[in-house]
């Protein structure tokens, strides 16, 4: 499982780095879900890989501190083959 969160498209790169650094200090490594994407809607979505269900709550709480700078936090959805 991984956790995704989206930065507000309005915030600066410095602010993004500040939040990513705060996550790193808390033990979470965040990186772009769509590396190299120029499209703002996709470029602002980040992921924290291998985050267990427990960590989803922790991340939600932590990212909530950044208010409107974070649009949403969600766990990765489950998908399965349909045969």
């Amino acid at each position: 499982m991984s956790v995704q969160f989206k930065f507000s498209e309005k915030i600066s790169d410095e602010r993004r780095l500040e939040i990513i650094e705060a996550l790193r200090r808390a033990g979470f490594s965040a990186h772009s879900l769509f590396p190299g994407q120029k499209r703002p809607k996709l470029a602002s979505i980040f992921t924290v890989a291998d985050a267990g269900a427990k960590n989803v709550k922790t991340l939600e709480t932590m990212l909530a501190r950044f208010g409107a700078d974070i649009e949403y936090v969600e766990a990765s959805p489950a998908r399965s083959p349909k045969s």
Binding site: S2, Q4, K6, L33, F34, P35, Q37, R39, K41, L42, I45, T47, A49, Y72, E74, A75, S76, P77, A78, R79, S80, P81, K82, S83
Partner: protein, 484 residues
Amino acid sequence: MATKHMQQVASAGGSPRHAELRQSRQSKHVSGQLIIRFKTSAVKQVAASPLAATATARMAAQAMPDEVAGPLELLRNQAGLSAVKPLFVTDTPTQAPQSGVMALAAIHGALARSSTRAPRKSLTGFQLVDVKDKDVTSAMLKRLRASKAVDLVEPVPNRWLSAADPMVNRQWGLRAIRWFDGKHPDAAKLHVAVLDSGIDDGHSDLKKSIEAYHHDGNTARDFLGHGTHVAGTIAALINNSIGIAGVANCRLHCWKIFDDPKAGSTDQNFNFEFYSRALASALDSEIKVINLSIGGTEHSRAEAAVFGELADAGVVVAAAMGNEFEEGNPKEFPAGYAGPLAVGAIDETDRRASFSCTGAHIGLVAPGVNILSTVPRIKASFADTTDYDSWPGTSMATPHVAGCAVLVYGNTAKSKAAADAVVKRLTSTARKLPAMKKKKFTREYGAGLLDLAAALGNKKASGKSKTGKAGKAKKKTKKKANKK
């Protein structure tokens, strides 16, 4: 409807599609040969004047009736006649014709044997004649046919080993979507992405269709077999004398979005991060269609965002409706997002498959029960056999739509308008099924059954829908559904 399918089974090999594939390979006639049948009376007359082994050319000429000698002379002088062999005569000549001057004696012998050695009276007089092909003109054939001693003159019909896929007649799904009816555009330069459990990239019915296979961090093996099955329905090689035929001869970009199983685990290990990368890779590439035979009940804003971008970028996404109708019929994603064309499954009687989920977001239906396709050469966990297997699922219906979508998209430049037009075309030409009770759209069947021939504008289209309306209806209902 079942009866109709049975009739189609019988006629599949003689369809325009088959004929087109055959004709592209060989010329119709064997060059440098003609079949000539001399009249029974003429060859009888030749046989009544046997030649001694020591006969001279003059003696051979004298033994040949004038009406037989005439056409032979014409063939010699104008078409470079080099041999005459009796057809349907099974025994061998008692003496080999001698060289040079004996050529006429050899012809005499051939004619005589076609009279005395043919196994039936109806087979007497037939000769296989070797000539110089470039010298055979229609005027010369006309003159030969006018000869008193000649019954028939015709070129030798060509025959060749069938290259048709031996299992194609078991692919009822192709008949149901009218794949056999009419010509298809060449899709050899069109690209489709399959995001699934991987692919057996060494499968002889698939390996030449694979443009790229991404399985970063995992082995190449398709442990489930699911991706290999889906890929076969889209792009198994057509007319390669092996197995089945895919809907389109397109290029496949395969992404293994389920990680290798961990020891002792049966989890499917969906890799959301790799899946996201795969989806994004289609945005600025040559990929025009994505097949997603996957689903789940959780909505994701991150996932929805990429589908929005894919729609804007002109990528058609075919997604499975899901198989959980009998487990509460949940709305599943990605089929449930705005953008993807959601595909339900029908069986061989044109009824909704009992498992196929329903809903306002459904686009159309396609064959999804007992679908024969490729599976890995090494036993996979979803497969009962190796190489080929028949499976049910909306997963199996979806690649029929993906394959047709790329054929309809064709060489049109990639754009949102073009992708929207493809979706509209597929839904507006979908065949209304009896179970839809004359409605343009139902939650069970969407706009109806995928109809490739109608979508490509081939004649004898059976689509009864009025162009555009079903597509519009679908779009409206989908927008509504996504607002909820």
